[in-house]
């Protein structure tokens, strides 16, 4: 019992700290998208061009990452996968995971297709020219930068790690922090599904 209270206390403390840092960093809290954020874009998948507006009717979980990402992306995508598994088949059928690569130099559409399928079957992987990817990221306030590191991994791409939630009408409803738990994600997705 004490252990559970302790875990809850730590979780609450972490949540409070996260929210504090979030506010301190000037980023809008979940539920209030940044002004003029979101909107449609068209990028390339292994099965042809995909526009966000093609996905209307579903809640879209949009994540900007890259396949060479050693830890952050697998972590976020795994959490998304876990969250979706907690939802009913009917709910899951109305959610679309979209993974946009911030590493268009290395990530090909085919590679992205295989990558996202590993975490979430039916997920869509997208890329384009560096300019197209930059434009899409800008619309959502996602930031990224290639970074040389003294590591055999070559370069890494530092990137913001938010999961953007788009409603069935295509509008940006908010974003989930990198540290969001599957339970939080389920709540936010269900809220978006209701509208």
């Amino acid at each position: 019992m004490t252990k559970r209270i302790l875990i809850l206390a730590v979780f609450l403390a972490l949540l409070a700290a996260t929210l504090w840092v979030w506010r301190a960093s000037g980023l809008p809290p979940l539920g209030k998208p940044a002004a003029a954020a979101g909107g449609d874009f068209t990028l390339q998948s292994a099965d042809g061009p995909v526009s966000l507006k093609d996905l209307r009717g579903k809640v879209v979980l949009l994540y900007f990452g890259y396949t060479y990402c050693p830890d952050v992306c697998p972590t976020s995508l795994a959490l998304i996968a876990q969250a979706l598994k907690q939802m009913t088949p009917a709910e899951q059928a109305r959610v679309q995971v979209v993974f946009v690569s911030v590493d268009p130099e290395r990530d090909t559409p085919q590679k992205l297709k295989e990558y996202i399928a590993f975490f979430r079957p039916g997920g869509i992987g997208l890329t384009g020219t560096p300019e197209q990817v930059a434009q899409a990221a800008k619309q959502y306030g996602a930031v990224y930068r290639k970074q040389a590191v003294s590591s055999a991994a070559g370069y890494v791409v530092d990137h913001s790690s938010y999961t953007y939630i788009l409603g069935p009408d295509g509008t940006l409803r908010g974003k989930l922090l990198h540290a969001a738990t599957p339970a939080e994600m389920v709540r936010e997705i269900r809220t978006a599904l209701k509208s």
Binding site: L27, T67, V72, A78, E114, S151, A153, D158, A179
Partner: protein, 151 residues
């Protein structure tokens, strides 16, 4: 002269025991695992909680493994929502304390995988500490969506 030779031999014989002991003896790797990755991915992470039962702090300075060509220690810095992964020279193990190697934080990075790692495989890791002592850790490979993440 013979006594000195005998002592020398004894010293040589017992030296490996000293190497295997030291810091490694005080450190336990709890729940180690390696994350499975999509085929074709060049790198992945190994995670565990390293518990140090010693009254003295120790340091993990190096890791090696059989499944990839290069092994490095890495950590993350979260700067205003931007996740920055960087190599780290060491991982500190406080006295009577622990270091959590978990997704989004510190981890052992396996770079340039020799073959894809599937759930059910096992990876042999060797951890080296500041005094040169080493510890073998056997880490099962787990599929990410099947894992419970704690933050």
């Amino acid at each position: 002269m013979k006594k000195l030779t005998a002592l020398t031999f004894a010293a040589i014989l017992f030296a490996p025991a000293a190497w295997a002991g030291g810091a490694a003896d005080s450190v336990t790797a709890v729940d180690p695992y390696v994350r499975a990755v999509p085929p074709g991915q060049p790198a992945t992470g190994a995670f565990m909680v390293l518990q140090n039962s010693d009254a003295k702090a120790h340091v993990l300075v190096k890791a090696d493994n059989a499944a990839s060509k290069v092994t490095e220690l890495h950590g993350h810095v979260n700067e205003g929502g931007v996740m920055k992964m960087r190599p780290v020279k060491q991982i500190d193990l406080p006295a009577k304390g622990e270091a959590k190697l978990q997704p989004g934080g510190l981890h052992v990075m396996l770079i340039d995988l020799k073959q894809p790692l599937k759930a059910g495989d096992t990876v042999a890791l060797t951890l080296t500490f500041e005094d040169g002592s080493t510890k073998e850790v056997s880490a099962p490979v787990r599929h990410p969506a099947g894992m419970m993440m704690s933050h």
